[in-house]
Subunit: 302 residues, 2 copies
């Protein structure tokens, strides 16, 4: 095992995830607590962080800590302005905020990214930009980060040129958990890849999303869609709409290639969706977040 | 006041609405109870109906009762098969089911309508077809019935030729009540027509619905959209997507005219949306449901 060199904290709305990182960027240990920013009040953050990573400080002494995600949002610890696109690790490094923790460790808070060209309002991300940096900015690429609010980003000439958010995961959760449309889906959830592909195909056939969603109900009435299939069918329709809308927004054409990074449990489903829409996929590495945080940290020191 | 001639019951998921109708089709009295089908078990329906309209039976003796809506669905009193499009009042009349109530009154249950041409599954309605009939089948028309599940229907050559459902109202409610996107909207709700038109304009500009919805959040972050504006802005985006998708599905072209019937409290908003999308609007009469029920009832007697 390598020597502990730093700690990377991915601090979001509902959880704090931390990784102990070695000299060569390898992950030596990891932890997760439910101390997301939504559970913390003003003034609680430092103590929550110190408590979470206390065992690592005890074992290895003071270490530089890099934190990113919603922790730097308006409802977080310190609000840091978004860095505008186009931006690479140097621009992100210039937007960092530095603090000193009670044990003398340096804390570097990373900024989020904004795309001022997006209409009607500038788009925003906090955390995903670090994943894109970790994937690498050396080669031009289209990067997809699946999630509650999926992001499609373009890497060009060594920087993140722009990006767009799709609220796919949130709409899926709303439909499954609160709608009449998907009422009747089997509990506990059943995942059915055939039904998922079916939903993707229907999204490929029709962009009338508000109408297509009703097929989750009419399919049941027609005896064509079972309660076991409903969840995956709806998931396919919604993720399919993301791929359809991303294509229409110019993120890709059939025959292009994109890279999926991040790991929100959705990557396999996104690979299937890409295949249905004729988009080739390369998978990013698992540790892009750590790599990106290290890249930006290095830039703050240079 | 005319002589009481019949009773029309619009019996849906969450309420039972009844009208006492005179000889000339005029509404003499009305009532509403929360005894929708979701609150009733098997075998409870007759008693609930008799209790609700007992005062009218007491005052006027036995009267023919026409009932329609979700009461004839799988979860209702008696499941009646959908009548397929194209259909007019004669076809709907052939699909009715007749019963005799304890006081000797005849009960005529009206069927719903299905459009077998709709993909991926036949579309369905229960109740709205009666409103379209009540609006009149003499002239070809495009009819819009705003609601939780809005319907666009085509009247052609004296029959309802086809229709399509858009789950606009349901998506709006999900976004407002359960989503992170619209979290922060002022409570109690504020209606802001300027923000509503803004949302419509953005929907006219972009069909990337999953992305556009995120502007409810980024508009707040950018300081462009206030908590007071959020609700109406989201409503405009969603209703605007319905008009955009209906246009793309061939329901109208700019410069056409359509008629809005029904009264779900949304008509004024739909008129504004139509204007933004270049669709002329005529308003249907308020009593189309009663008229339609009477039309179908007459056909069952002929």
């Amino acid at each position: 095992m390598g020597h502990a060199a730093s700690i990377v904290v991915d601090w979001g709305t509902t959880s704090l995830k931390a990784a102990l990182v070695g000299n060569d960027g390898e992950e030596l240990d990891s932890l997760e607590t439910p101390q997301g920013i939504s559970s913390l009040g003003k003034g609680d953050h430092e103590a929550a962080l110190m408590k979470a990573i206390a065992p690592w400080f005890s074992a290895h002494g003071a270490l530089p800590v890099v934190a990113l995600g919603m922790i730097t949002s308006r409802n977080g610890w310190v609000e840091i302005p978004y860095v505008p696109c186009p931006a690479g690790s140097a621009e992100l490094a210039r937007g960092t905020v530095r603090m000193v923790l009670p044990n003398g460790s340096e804390l570097v808070l990373l900024p989020g990214l904004t795309d001022p060209a997006r209409r009607p309002f500038p788009d925003v991300m906090r955390g995903e930009e670090t994943q894109v940096v970790g994937h690498g900015l050396d080669h031009d690429a289209t990067v997809i980060i699946p999630g509650t609010h999926s992001k499609w980003a373009k890497v060009k000439a060594g920087r993140i040129k722009g990006f767009q958010t799709f609220v796919t995961g949130e709409i899926f959760a709303l439909l499954l958990n609160h709608s009449f449309i998907a009422r009747g889906a089997t509990q506990p959830p059943v995942n059915d890849l055939e039904a998922y592909r079916w939903g993707l195909d229907e999204a490929k056939n029709s962009g009338a999303m508000l109408s297509l969603l009703f097929s989750a109900r009419t399919g049941g009435l027609a005896g064509k869609l079972s309660a076991d299939q409903l969840r995956s069918y709806v998931h396919g329709m919604v993720i399919g709409q993301e791929f359809r809308q991303a294509r229409e927004a110019g993120w890709y054409s059939a025959g292009d290639e994109a890279t999926i990074v991040g790991n929100d449990g959705l990557n396999d489903l996104y690979v299937i969706a890409a295949e249905v829409f004729g988009l080739g996929i390369a998978m990013g590495a698992d540790d892009v977040l750590t790599r990106g945080a290290m890249d930006v940290l290095r830039q703050t020191l240079s």
